[in-house]
Symmetry: C2
Subunit: 279 residues, 2 copies
């Protein structure tokens, strides 16, 4: 039952009485600090009674036997009884709930409701509607599909084809409930060297996305191999013209070359001074 | 500098050297246990040097002065020096990193890399591409738009109009990199009482979404007020027929009436036995 320091694969469990998304998010962030290590990740959501907890206990014990190293358990279980059941074989348990919850209880001088399934559980209908409205807005205004209702957009993402506009729009809608349109700069737009007419009235909502020419060419290559569209020279030309357009019109922009959708989205919110609505 | 137990609004900060999405996710989950309390939530991402940390310290001190109650800080800062700077006025700091990181270091017998910005930071290009491919697949196969390549789908969501198919498809793509198509059951499909031809070959990938007739009517009412489409009787008819179709064809399904997109998505993954790929 001793821990080992070898680099054999270790099983990491994310156990939750709800979706386990919080446990995964925290676990992933913490494990990223130990990237030299290999982990086998297993998510076990909706563990909300003693029977399911008993099954989890067995799965954890079996992983220890199979791996030969002690499993790690990220738990967002709210009920301490369930946590006790799953921990019977004594894995390393990181209880994401208990320590913080106790500090908060002391500080707020009220007791936690200890409601299970609250880590992403039932939702308020108004919040749900708001989020759906944002997702539908992003879909309706994707890739310049509709230029109407731009005045309702919190942000209009602008950039040449394949700079990450669509996934960023959808992420901002889903995660933060923001209404985001996106507009692809065409060759015509770039040649005229002016902001497209449909964008001029909304200059304050514009945010540009750019990317390295090489990366853009590689993304486009997947889509239309060996086309002019995917050539590095064409990509370089488009990217330079687009950046020039952004600068001339004081449109804030970022380079998306090596950053995640989450990071692009957070930068957009920060730069545009938008409220981060949390679900 | 004493804490108070009154119910005045307290400011809660989510401070991070990266996007702050991890800090928000954890903070939101913990605060959900104290829902009787009002919180004013402020997210401060990309705090990655001493100057920015100094600014944060001032913002926190000011919130304390303004609210008259001690602020709460959820921190995912990796650098303890930055955490020290922001904590100078002594708010309640919940350090999401330190305690777990130390346990992991001891268990793994290796040191944390203490890399900042790792809580959702730079991404591996392959992972990025995989995720984008999934998002593009969801968009191309939204609402029965394309019936081709259904064999590539990990799941095909099936349901009548407005049961949550589109946001669930997009969430599964964005969060878990799963390729998900969705198919809307039409009146014709329901009347024939058989699985639509394009779905028959993919029965093992089908997952049904249903909803209460009242809720469906209320959602449709927003879209097409006072239409037959939005009437409770029409909605009840469609929902009953769809559920009947699911049962007759052994298509697993869930009721989305009162649950979040995250919860629907987690249930789909669990029921279909899919791997939860984590980004």
């Amino acid at each position: 039952m001793s821990t080992t320091s070898d680099y054999s694969t270790r099983t990491v469990f994310f156990v939750s009485d709800g979706t386990a998304i919080t446990a995964e998010t925290m676990g992933r962030a913490l494990l990223a600090q130990f990237e030299q290590h290999d982990f086998n990740r297993v998510t076990l959501p909706f563990i909300d009674n003693e029977y399911k907890a008993g099954d989890v206990a067995e799965v954890i014990a079996r992983a220890w036997a199979d791996d030969g190293v002690r499993p790690i358990v990220f738990s967002s279980l709210v009920d301490p009884e369930l946590l006790k059941i799953i921990s019977v074989s004594r894995p390393l348990v990181l209880d994401l709930f208990a320590s913080f919850s106790k500090s908060l209880e002391q500080e707020l001088q009220i007791e936690s409701t200890h409601a299970t399934g609250r880590f992403h559980g039932l939702v308020d209908q108004k919040i749900y509607d708001h989020r759906m409205e944002a997702v539908n807005f992003a879909l309706a205004h994707d890739d310049g599909a509709s230029l109407r209702h731009y005045e309702q957009a919190s942000v209009i993402l602008v950039g040449v084809s394949r700079t990450g506009k669509t996934p960023t729009s959808l992420y901002l809608a889903m995660q933060f409930g923001l209404k985001v349109a996106n507009y692809p700069l065409t060759d015509d737009d770039l040649e005229s060297a002016k902001l497209p007419g449909s964008l001029r009235a909304h200059r304050a909502s514009l945010f540009g996305l750019t990317i390295s020419a090489e990366q853009l060419a590689s993304i486009r290559q997947e889509r239309l191999p060996n086309s002019r569209y995917a050539s590095v020279s064409q990509c370089r030309h488009e990217v330079e013209e687009a950046e020039c357009l952004f600068r001339r019109n004081a449109v804030p922009y970022i380079d998306t070359t090596a950053i995640s959708i989450e990071e692009i989205s957070s930068k957009v919110i920060q730069t545009m001074g938008l409220a981060r609505r949390l679900f």
